[in-house]
Symmetry: C2
């Protein structure tokens, strides 16, 4: 049994990462207004959030800039237009996918950039690519994390090898990423145990990025923080791909460090998220995401179901089971 | 750390209780059609659910029958009209609130009733009333449970006294009830420890009834089953008061006993729950419920906010904090 002291006290080492523009951008192709982005930034500062992720550093060779909002590419000048010199306690991050980022050219030296943290997202089969990106970003002066995606489909023995490889890099944080929303808290506890062993061995930090396919994004996040994970991803109203993420307003309400404030999060959801929903932007728990989560499948079929406006859940269940 | 074996295997002793008509009835004043009630019944049979709760045995002296659907009163003949002789493995339960049920007259002998289980709902300050009802129902031949509500507001020492009193009655099951949706899984683990000590001492079973104010109804339910609770309440699509309950379709997907089937639950939500939602019946997680859950308050103010069609979450936060 975990000790309740973990609820009454807090660890100074906990870091909250807001990924609203990044994971939320997967829902609306990153078409956020500047007003929205600025409101996220100001909310994060007021709420005591530690890092704000603006989006991806996606390759402009691979992706057509005219088909996405600016936060898919996170040009330094676009971030600068929101944050100025960012003379605040809030640090800025972007995500860079292995194989989808021209990091050699698009990531400049930190001394010239408003960005503080490069988060490298990888699957287990592209760890060497991730390591190259981590080393590149570290050499340019950035903090770095590695988000190992789709861990629910991974072999534990492969994961251990990957973590040992990452342990020898300058990476600061490795993330447990439940991309499919397939994991139960007991499984998070077991995976966290593997990560915490790695963290102790190499002097690294552990993070958690959860999805809400089974209404467990928040539960899995607080399971992980109880297990020793310090870096916690959330998004306002859980905005994120498919079933969405751990809701920031739940996470801030749970954390006991008085620097975290609930009210700015409530205000932001009230003023900005409700408006997005009215405009027809759809995300969050629904039966189709439960199904792909249960079956430990990529949510792409469920996302297509949502986009098509379908509500024939029983038929969809037959489809995904047939594809299993 | 809990053992993953609990996910791979199953305990024969687990019982799933569907409370859709009962807790869901609090959302629509129990105005379910007979077709809906029959569909719940047939779904439960197909899904392998163990008990179906039809509603309350509410006092017809205290409550005006013309102002509620029939499942607030659960006359035996009304249940009989749905289940006939109920020649199935699904058992039937009703809930009886202390102080709101004329149990001496309204609960007849089990031999003449389609009901199998009387679930007595009580607060900690009405335990003697609950004991009288439990003894009455037991003497009439029923299985009995005691649902101790609002446990997040209780003193642990009072709870231990109450459980010792209940331990000396014929009650079969005592429930952990997180009425306010205020508890985190770590707290459920601690409370379950108290209940499991009681269960071992007196040869009783332990149940869990969770609410979804912080998106933890399912997480708290699977926490409790991992801690030894055998009786698990769920409702289809989480239909229930305020933020609702543990969703049956999540729970059935989690349990590993092959007698539990996911597909009938999906079908039912597809065919019947979607229709209720289209008709404007509202329940489920939303910011106002998060707030009362966080503050460990009764959800009545949040329910009023919902019923009034309000969406000014920030103003509501100021109101509930001011009342705290």
């Amino acid at each position: 049994m975990k000790e309740l002291s973990k609820l009454m006290e807090y660890r100074e080492s906990v870091r909250v990462v807001d990924a609203t523009l990044r994971d939320g951008g997967l829902v609306n192709d990153f078409y956020f207004t500047d007003e929205f982005a600025r409101a996220v930034y100001e909310t994060n500062i007021r709420a005591g959030v530690d890092y704000m992720e603006f989006g991806y550093k996606a390759s402009r060779e691979m992706f057509d800039e005219s088909k996405f909002g600016k936060w898919k590419f996170c040009k330094d000048e676009d971030i600068r237009a929101i944050v100025g010199d960012n003379d605040t306690n809030l640090k800025i991050s972007v995500m860079a996918d292995v194989g989808r980022c021209d990091y050699k050219t698009d990531i400049i030296n930190r001394s010239e950039s408003p960005i503080d943290l490069i988060r490298v997202a990888t699957y287990l089969n592209t760890i060497p690519g991730a390591i190259d990106m981590i080393e590149d970003a570290h050499a340019k002066g950035y903090e770095t994390s590695c988000n190992i995606m789709a861990i629910s489909n991974a072999q534990e023995s492969d994961l251990v090898v990957a973590l040992d490889l990452l342990g020898r890099t300058p990476v600061d944080v490795c993330y447990i990423v439940d991309s499919y929303g397939a994991l139960y808290p007991e499984q998070i506890a077991r995976i966290a145990d593997v990560y915490m062993n790695f963290a102790a061995k190499y002097g690294k930090k552990v993070g958690i990025h959860a999805h809400n396919n089974q209404q467990l994004a928040f539960a899995n996040t607080i399971e992980a923080v109880g297990d020793g994970a310090d870096w916690l991803d959330g998004t306002y109203a859980g905005m994120g791909r498919g079933a969405g993420n751990c809701a920031m307003e739940l996470l801030l309400g749970f954390l006991r460090n008085p620097k975290y404030k609930e009210y700015p999060a409530i205000q932001f959801v009230d003023q900005y998220i409700s408006q997005l929903k009215k405009e027809g932007i759809v995300w969050g728990y629904d039966l189709q995401y439960l199904m792909t989560g249960l079956l430990n499948q990529h949510p792409r079929t469920a996302i297509a179901f949502t986009k098509a406006g379908r509500t024939d859940y029983a038929e969809f269940y037959r489809e995904v089971v047939a594809q299993d």
